[in-house]
Amino acid sequence: MRFASKIAAAASGALLLVALPVGAQAQSKLDEVLARGHLIVGTGSTNAPWHFKGEGDVLQGFDIDIAKIVAKGLFDDPEKVEFVLQASDARIPNVVTDKVDITCQFMTVTAARAQQIAVTIPYYREGVGLMLPAGSQYADYAALKAAGSAVTISVLQNVYAEELVHQALPEARVDQYDAQDLIYQALDAGRADAAVTDQSSIAWLLVQQPGKYKDGGYGWSPQTYACAVKRGDQEWLNFVNTALHEAMTGVEFNAYAASFKKWFGVDLPPPSIGFPVEFK
């Protein structure tokens, strides 16, 4: 996959050079989408709770709900969306080459990416956390840290995985596994005392399998998730930002909060009434 991502990055870079001089669009993507009558969204299908297929083979997840919120803003109908499946590597190329109107696929915002595509306002802040078996001898993060090198942590294989774990637990033993399901299997089998994984995954598993695991209560390594649109179309970017903003602070808050509750099991407090929350 790393090779594929390099190819995709190179392709997107090269295509950017080709695409940019065409520049000045006659009309905004906003008009194009409205005229078409449905929104084309690039997303994935293999990562719960973000974008995945349920039992009925229907695409669902938090990214999917975010896309539907944008569609509701456009057509007053959240179902007027066509989802285009794409690998993570294809997120930026598909936006740059107009295969999709927008990508909503748990994309971490980085300054380097923002040079290639226009990033919307964030709709989630991800971080890693610790997940323990419900009946663990360790109560929480503090207990794990106090146990020092007696603790074994399972984590997804990555070049920086060991460093990531040691940022929170400097002395812990680190066992790396090459698939997400295996780090949970290590936990179930007692090979690891805790798993280090995305906090959204922890929240999802706590909802899915209540009573089996518990959250260590400590998060680190923050990253921002946002949608992406093609550069050079401020009107379209403004529209999507407005739709997302009002979902998190305004008229569509209930839809956003219901989705948040469904996928992460957390009740969001409604935005305080009165002075706009953004300027506090």
Binding site: I7, T46, V84, A90, D181
Partner: protein, 223 residues
């Protein structure tokens, strides 16, 4: 046993999605092999019988395509063709890339097979007064097909395996359908093994079909 039971429960629940993925894999591979073979035969004929610029051009095409990873061809046909105004969806772009990849291999197989038919066969046909098209259709093609068949079957199996790369551009073939099931069930190992077994079954069927065809062609010439 409960783990096996859980696996079969999930497998049964996902049967339509997985069958859909298998159907896409078979359809994509079939279209790519058919189109690639037609184009490949033309390529092989040009390489064998034409001299001059067209031959050089086709030689360049074959060498370039054969020296390029299939993944690059897929990304190119999906992204690059779009920028020059030819907008293909993921499935069309995937079939095109696989067909082109297939054609370069079939072209070489056909060229090699035609070259392996003894020159005396063409000369004998000429002394009998057959025109080149007739010589080709009646004398060279049946013999070359027999020589080319094992390598062609090999290429067809390669195309089935290469079709897994289409998941990168979002074609819901068998591998992507399998990964979608893994994403909700966290049963990575059993479902990857399952997908591997299905791919093996498809390719084993192709191999058997090839063997049957070989036997048939062999008896045709000995009668």
């Amino acid at each position: 046993m409960s783990a096996a039971q859980a696996f079969f429960d999930v497998l049964w629940g996902a049967r339509m999605a997985l069958l859909g993925g298998l159907a896409t894999t078979v359809l994509v591979s079939l279209l790519a092999v058919l189109a690639g073979t037609l184009l490949g035969v033309v390529v092989g004929l040009v390489l064998s019988y034409l001299r001059g610029p067209l031959n050089w051009l086709v030689r360049l095409y074959v060498d370039f395509i054969r020296g390029t990873p299939v993944l690059v061809l897929i990304l190119a046909s999906f992204y690059v063709l779009g920028t020059v105004g030819w907008k293909l969806n993921a499935l069309q772009a995937g079939v095109l890339a696989l067909a082109i990849f297939c054609s370069s291999h079939v072209g070489e197989i056909v060229r090699g097979a035609l070259g392996a038919v003894p020159r005396g066969q063409t000369e004998a046909a000429r002394t009998l007064g057959l025109s080149f098209p007739l010589t080709f259709a009646l004398i060279l093609l049946p013999q070359a097909a027999r020589i080319a068949l094992p390598a062609w079957v090999n290429t067809a199996a390669e195309i089935v395996k290469a079709s897994t790369l289409l998941s990168i551009v979002g074609v819901a073939e068998l591998l992507l359908a399998t990964q979608e099931v893994i994403a909700r069930s966290f049963m990575g190992l059993p479902f990857y093994v399952f997908a591997g077994a299905v791919y093996f079954a498809v390719n084993f069927a192709i191999e058997r079909l090839g063997k049957a065809l070989e036997r048939r062609l062999a008896t045709d010439t000995t009668q």
